[in-house]
């Protein structure tokens, strides 16, 4: 037990994960980093991307978007705006979101000015991550 990390993934709607893990990798805004037991306290923001965690050789994948992660006293808390496990991902919705975002980016490139490019890009990144985690790409 002593060499495990207590991982919690919290989103506005629910506590997604509360488990003992050996290793957890999160997409920090400054780059992906992994956390194991007895890690020094850290506070970092996370980007849209894939998150992994591993327990007794069993790996789990999740899609997370926006938030931060805090590690202290062998407790790791990931606060994300959204976090979904592989099997929870709505592939159809992600596909639609991807198409919509791509269309918007194209329209923006061809001169429409009322489009929020940053937002469309973020939507595209979210959709792509979801699809990747779900194994549909």
């Amino acid at each position: 037990m002593a060499n495990k990390l207590n991982l919690e993934v919290v989103t506005p709607t629910k506590l997604v994960v509360s488990e003992q893990v050996d290793l957890c990798t999160v997409p920090g805004t400054e780059g992906v980093f992994g956390v194991m037991a007895n890690h020094a306290p850290i506070l970092a923001t996370i980007a849209i991307g894939e998150m992994h965690y591993e327990n007794d050789g069993k790996q789990e994948k999740m899609a997370v978007s926006g938030g931060f992660v805090e590690v202290s006293n062998n407790r790791m808390t990931v606060l994300a705006e959204a976090a979904e496990r592989m099997e929870e991902i709505d592939v159809d919705r992600a596909l639609k979101a991807k198409e919509r975002a791509e269309r918007r980016l194209q329209e923006a490139a061809s001169g429409r000015e009322d489009i929020d490019i940053a937002r469309a890009k973020a939507a595209l990144a979210r959709a792509l991550t979801r699809l990747k985690v779900a194994g549909k790409m």
Binding site: T11, P12, T13, L15, P41, L43, F68, E70, L79
Partner: protein, 296 residues
């Protein structure tokens, strides 16, 4: 006196109303449980967020952030969170009255006011009157989503950074318990350093000695990213509380209505029986009178 038939019809009508109010009461009770659950599920998120914000604000220089900038207040925005639907007693009216009072107090000081609305009831009220309503989000209370909170958050941050408003307050129906809901006003912008870590949820217990954190990126940058999210979190919390309050208020209102229906039915049944008695007596008198007359 109303005729027997009239009374009967009235009783039937009220019985139907009673059925409806009873059903609404039960629906509200079921929805309330859901809303309360969501509110409770959101709490760990909000409280964690508040703790981290509190921690960070201690390490960073507050003057460096545009969202913390204290300006002379010329324009004030009030974000009013109400429900989308009525029939929940004085719930929305209470929020609107409290908003009016707040806006009047601002106007007295010569401060320009505008209103942001989340929820249809507030929007209906304020758009019909002489108010500027730059933010208007409706039909979102049936299923509260972070998207709506984020939209509202982005818009107010935009207004604030453009200098169109100098402060933003938030009013919502705070859930105290099933019978009490209180319109509550919180300041959203500018974010004050002292207010961080206090609002947005219960304070988490401090665990052991404070650890020195590794920050990635620098604390200022983290704060810069988290501040807009913090606003969203507060709006989201307010929306969730309002939904729970709304359902609780509706439960109470519908319970009262059902009871009032019961009382009315009781009274009308008495009147009906009295009227029936009277008509029977009158008929008997007629018959007896007729028989007497025949006897001659």
């Amino acid at each position: 006196m109303a005729s027997l038939k009239d009374i009967k019809l009235k009783i039937q009508g009220i019985k139907k109303t009673e059925q409806i109010t009873k059903a609404m009461n039960m629906v509200a009770a079921a929805k309330f449980r859901g809303a309360q659950e969501r509110m409770e599920e959101f709490r760990p998120y909000a409280s964690k967020f508040a703790t981290v914000m509190g921690q960070l604000s201690g390490t960073a220089n507050p003057n460096a952030f545009p969202l913390m900038e204290q300006r002379e207040v010329k324009n004030s925005l009030l974000l009013v969170v109400t429900s989308d639907r009525g029939l929940c007693g004085a719930f929305n009216a209470n929020i609107i009255n409290a908003s009016e009072k707040f806006l009047d107090s601002k106007k007295e000081k010569g401060i320009g006011v505008s209103v942001g609305c989340i929820g249809k009831k507030g929007s209906q009220y304020f758009t019909k009157r002489d108010y500027e309503v730059p933010i208007n989000i409706t039909d979102c209370m049936a299923k509260v989503e972070m998207v709506n909170a984020r939209q509202a958050g982005q818009e107010i941050i935009h207004l604030f950074l453009e200098g169109k408003v100098d402060e933003v307050h938030l009013i919502y129906g705070r859930f105290i318990n099933v019978v009490t809901q209180k319109p509550t006003i919180n300041k959203l912008l500018p974010i004050s350093a002292s207010g961080l870590g206090e609002s947005g949820g219960e304070k988490e217990e401090k665990e052991g000695p404070k650890a020195t954190y590794i920050y990635e990126p620098a604390p200022e940058e983290i704060l810069d990213k988290l501040m807009p999210m913090y606003i969203n979190v507060q709006i989201m919390a307010a929306m969730l509380e309002t939904v729970a309050s709304e359902q609780a208020a509706r439960m109470t209102a519908m319970d009262n209505a059902t009871r009032a229906c019961g009382d009315m039915i009781h009274e009308l049944t008495l009147a009906f029986n009295k009227a029936r008695q009277a008509s029977i007596t009158a008929e008997l008198m007629d018959i007896v009178g007729g028989a007497e007359a025949l006897k001659g």
